[in-house]
């Protein structure tokens, strides 16, 4: 059970989820230098959106048939909230000092969490989420659940699609330009507001995918699941080099694998017997972040930004 390949696989799945959420942080940050604190909640609402669709579908429908509908429902909720937040809450503060939108984001995060807590039926404690049938599969010495496979597959597809979009579409290139220098991009005729909306929308969509996948993986979702996940994902984004979409995915994977391995192996280190196990996973993730920032302040794939004087 506790073999190294198994831990690596666990880390890989966990990391794909962090990576998916981290994309939203990193894209928004890259373009408007905003830490969209509410992004964790957008992930959470995506999961609840998917669940809401599922509960309203006829129970005769198989989970495989329901899956696309759940994805659409969750994505709709997440994207609408993400774009709405940008349009109504963040955009008016585009020229305000950076703390203002951050506080707005914190407020939004609280409000979304509490809205689900108060008004989603019976969401005060965990909600059961449908599970994918089949599995666990045994691949070598590794046990894999079908939820994990869905997560991994979704992450790979999303990343590939995003990579192609950013690299070869007109909008994608405009997005890169805006990230590098919004003022110049605007002068060059890029509609920066539209680009920002698209960044929020893509982030929201990926968060919804992650939300759905995490529901399938754990079989349960909670109104406050966004905070921890958001914190981890943001850590992943910083680890990978904030602003860099590949960095976000890499950061997620590194963080996930480190967490899985730390949980399993730290206790074997002499003198650290008491610091292993899931209770300390967060702590080791955080230590990793500090170490990476010390050694490579710009993150794994980030570029050093020199301040031009």
């Amino acid at each position: 059970m506790h073999t190294l390949p198994q831990q690596l696989a666990n880390g890989l799945f966990l990391g794909s989820m962090y990576g998916l959420i981290a994309i939203g942080y990193t894209m928004v940050y890259g373009i408007v230098q905003l830490i969209n604190f509410a992004h964790g909640e957008i992930y959470m609402t995506g999961a609840f959106g998917a669940l809401a669709i599922y509960t309203n579908l006829p129970s005769s429908l198989s989970i495989w048939a329901a899956l696309p509908l759940m994805l659409i429902g969750g994505a709709l909720v997440s994207v609408v909230i993400a774009v709405g937040a940008e349009r109504l809450a963040y955009r008016p503060l585009r020229n305000a000092p950076r703390l203002a939108p951050l506080i707005t984001a914190i407020g939004l995060s609280l409000a979304l969490q509490q809205a689900v807590f108060n008004w989603y039926p019976d969401a005060k404690s965990g909600k059961r989420f449908p599970q994918l049938p089949g599995g666990p599969f045994h691949i070598g010495s590794v046990d894999v659940q079908s939820g994990d496979l869905f997560l991994l597959g979704a992450a790979v597809i999303c990343m590939l699609a995003l990579g192609i979009f950013v690299r070869s579409s007109r909008t994608g290139r405009a997005m890169q330009a805006t990230a590098q220098d919004p003022d110049t991009a605007k002068l060059m005729g890029v509609d920066t507001n539209r680009i920002i909306i698209i960044a929020f929308a893509i982030g929201g969509f990926f968060a919804a995918v992650a939300g759905l996948a995490s529901g399938l993986k754990y079989g349960q979702i909670q109104y406050n699941m966004g905070f921890q996940a958001g914190l981890k994902a943001f850590t992943a984004a910083v680890l990978g080099g904030i602003g860099n979409i590949y960095g976000a995915m890499l950061g997620g994977l590194v963080l996930g694998i480190a967490e899985a391995c730390a949980t399993a192996y730290i206790a074997n280190v002499p003198g650290m017997e008491q610091f292993g196990g899931g209770a300390w996973a967060q702590v080791w993730a955080f230590v990793l972040l500090i170490v990476v920032l010390l050694v490579r302040p710009q993150g794994l794939l980030g570029e050093r930004v020199a301040d031009r004087a």
Binding site: L93, N95, T104, G107, L110, P297
Partner: protein
């Protein structure tokens, strides 16, 4: 208790910059004399109505059935109407009454009329809603309803003074389609222009007044402030408290627009020592004026969160560092104090430090953690600090939970925390006991209130003195432009570390008292956001709501954020939701906070054309396309 010593500077700047206001046509076209008459008539009618009976049953909170003197919510209407009338009189140019409206504008009158209208109509509609229909109104209620309307109509017929620039597009935010179609937003935008910037208000120089008269005014105003505060706290129904909030909030806005607040600020500015002393005396008077353990309890907690918010303000407001895990330093202080308190649940249950030593230990421990967190991260870009502090805040709670002897070594007792922390005893004065002073009794919370007040005063002194010194200037310089600051010889890393460590130590100090007030420490309050106040989001919100970089701002912000939810009991279920929405709205409509740092105020509201090197968002990446690069 005012901000950095720049008020005078600002005045001078405004005078030479040629700021002048524009008098605009009123909303309702009437000759000025008619408008004034209507306003006064409205004020008189409304005032008179509060001496009548508004409803015939005593079922409505606060007994409004009595004729002959005002009661409950009628008091709010009365105060609003009187203030409006008086401030309106100040604009008539009558000799001896001009000081009632030092800025000589009708803007304040309009806002005060709005406050009166708001609270009166709220009351009348609340009566109708609670008792089932307008039929439950006595004639007095109807008179009040109409009187307030007449008053407001009269005020709307007075010409307003506006900003010299053209209307809404001078706001730093754009009015998009959403705002255009939202009457509330537009109405607000229209109204907020009625609040001229302090720098645009010309008020007479108070230095000409007899110095004793100046001091008298200060004493009276502080006493009134205490009276208003205790009145609000003592309201026993949410309904009355809401009426009170309407009058106070919009009323203060109105007083500010009429220049009275600026005038008073000028007064305190010129009598700094005296005003400070009276401020402290007023604060000491609080547990005596409100001789009740419940309010003393409220007072202690307000002081604790206010003090911690002030410490955070050094880090966020002065130095511009984003600390999202600040509450952990409060926790470090609290846990340190708990461990050395002699509590039977502490691993060192034998040791009991005297308070001064415990306070010192708490400060030092928090400071050490501050340096440990700050040293590796303060060299990095600002946003990294945000994530690291956020992580640290979470880690603190998790570690404290885990150090229970099962998941980790036994230090903190895990989720159960350290209970039975004995009360403090200072110079033989046990803070847990009830003491009597003259005819007053000081209960446990009153004792702690007074102790906490000492600490708050210390923190205020540290803040003001540090802010106005070599080190404080270097903090502000770093906040303004870190590159330029280092090029001026400031060792950015060291100076930031000092700010960070100082902020942490002050939180640690407050934490030591916190541990004793609550008798026990548990991990849960020290989280990023949550239903109970000392959490990082709450503290940050207090700083931003009150006004970053100011002394009084965070104190006021913390007090409001703490007290208002307590008084609005019906909200309790949705408290956090309301808090979140409130944060969004406050940032949307008043991002500079209630008490804007004068520097900030300019930064937020001036159009940004002549701003040198000032790009508020993303300070770290200066635009590549510089003028004539």
């Amino acid at each position: 208790m005012t901000d950095l010593p720049i008020a005078a500077a600002e005045e001078a700047a405004a005078a030479t910059a040629g700021h002048s206001t524009r008098r605009t046509a009123p909303f309702i076209p009437l000759p000025v004399t008619a408008a004034r008459a209507t306003t006064l008539a409205g004020a008189v009618i409304t005032t008179a109505s509060t001496f009548m009976s508004w409803t015939y049953t005593t079922d409505f909170p606060g007994d409004l059935t009595v004729s002959g003197y005002p009661g409950g919510l009628q008091v709010m209407t009365l105060i609003g109407a009187l203030l409006t009338g008086v401030v309106a009189l100040g604009t008539f140019g009558l000799k001896g009454l001009r000081w009632l409206n030092p800025a000589r504008t009708n803007n304040g009158v309009l806002l005060l009329a709005l406050a009166t209208l708001g609270t009166t109509w709220y009351t009348v509609i609340d009566i109708a809603a609670k008792l089932g229909g307008f039929a439950n109104l006595d004639p007095g209620g109807i008179v009040a309803f109409i009187g307030a309307l007449v008053l407001f109509a009269g005020a709307l017929a007075l010409p307003l003074d506006r900003h010299p620039e053209e209307a809404a597009d001078t706001e730093y935010y754009e009015l998009g389609w959403f705002e255009q179609v939202t009457p509330v937003v537009r109405g607000y935008a229209w109204l907020r222009e009625a609040r001229l910037h302090h720098s645009e208000l010309r008020v007479p120089d108070t230095r000409k007044l007899n110095p004793w008269l100046q001091r008298l005014v200060i004493v009276v105003v502080y006493a009134l402030g205490l009276k208003i505060l205790t009145f609000g706290l003592a309201t026993d129904y949410s309904d009355i408290f809401i009426g009170y909030l309407i009058v106070v909030a919009i009323g203060v806005w109105g007083l500010s627009a009429s220049g009275l607040i600026k005038q008073f600020q000028q007064l305190t500015q010129h009598n700094k020592r005296f005003a400070g002393t009276i401020g402290v005396i007023t604060a000491i008077a609080y547990p005596f004026a409100q001789n009740n353990e419940l309010w003393a309890n409220l007072g202690v907690y307000v002081l604790i969160v206010a003090t911690v918010a002030l410490g955070l303000n050094i880090v966020v407001g002065l130095t511009g560092l984003l600390d999202l895990g600040y509450v952990a330093f409060l926790g470090v202080g609290a846990y340190t104090a708990a461990l050395v308190s002699g509590s039977p649940f502490s691993i060192w249950s034998g040791t009991q430090f005297p308070f001064w030593a415990a306070a010192l230990a708490g400060m030092i421990a928090a400071c050490v953690f501050g340096v440990l967190i700050g040293a590796p991260t303060l060299r990095l870009r600002g946003d990294y600090l945000a994530i690291v502090t956020l992580g640290f805040g979470e880690i603190f709670r998790i570690v404290v939970r885990n150090l229970d002897g099962v998941s980790g070594p036994k230090v903190t007792n895990g989720p159960n925390g350290i209970a039975q922390i004995p009360d403090l005893s200072i110079f033989g004065y046990n803070l847990g006991d009830t003491h009597s002073v003259g005819s007053f009794t000081l209960g446990r919370f009153a004792n702690y209130y007074l102790l906490m007040l000492v600490i708050t005063v210390i923190v205020v002194l540290v803040f003001t003195r540090a802010a106005d010194s070599r080190i404080g200037r270097s903090w502000i310089a770093i906040r303004e432009d870190e590159t330029a600051a280092t090029a001026m010889g400031i060792n950015g890393f060291r100076v930031k570390l000092v700010a960070f460590a100082l902020g942490a130590s002050l939180a640690g100090l407050a934490g030591t008292v916190f541990a004793h007030v609550t008798n026990s420490v548990v991990p849960d309050p020290y989280q990023f956001s949550g239903p109970v106040p000392p959490n990082s989001a709450f503290l940050l919100a207090a700083v931003v709501l009150g006004g970053m970089g100011t002394v009084s701002g965070p104190i006021l912000g913390a007090a409001l954020l703490y007290v208002i939810p307590q008084k609005l009991g019906f909200l309790s279920k949705y408290e956090l939701f309301a808090f979140g929405i409130a944060l969004i709205l406050i940032m949307r409509f008043r991002p500079e906070g209630i008490i804007p740092n004068r520097r900030r105020q300019l930064e937020f509201h001036e159009d940004d054309a002549p701003a040198p090197g000032n790009r508020p968002m993303g300070d770290d990446t200066v635009p590549a396309t510089t003028a004539g690069a």
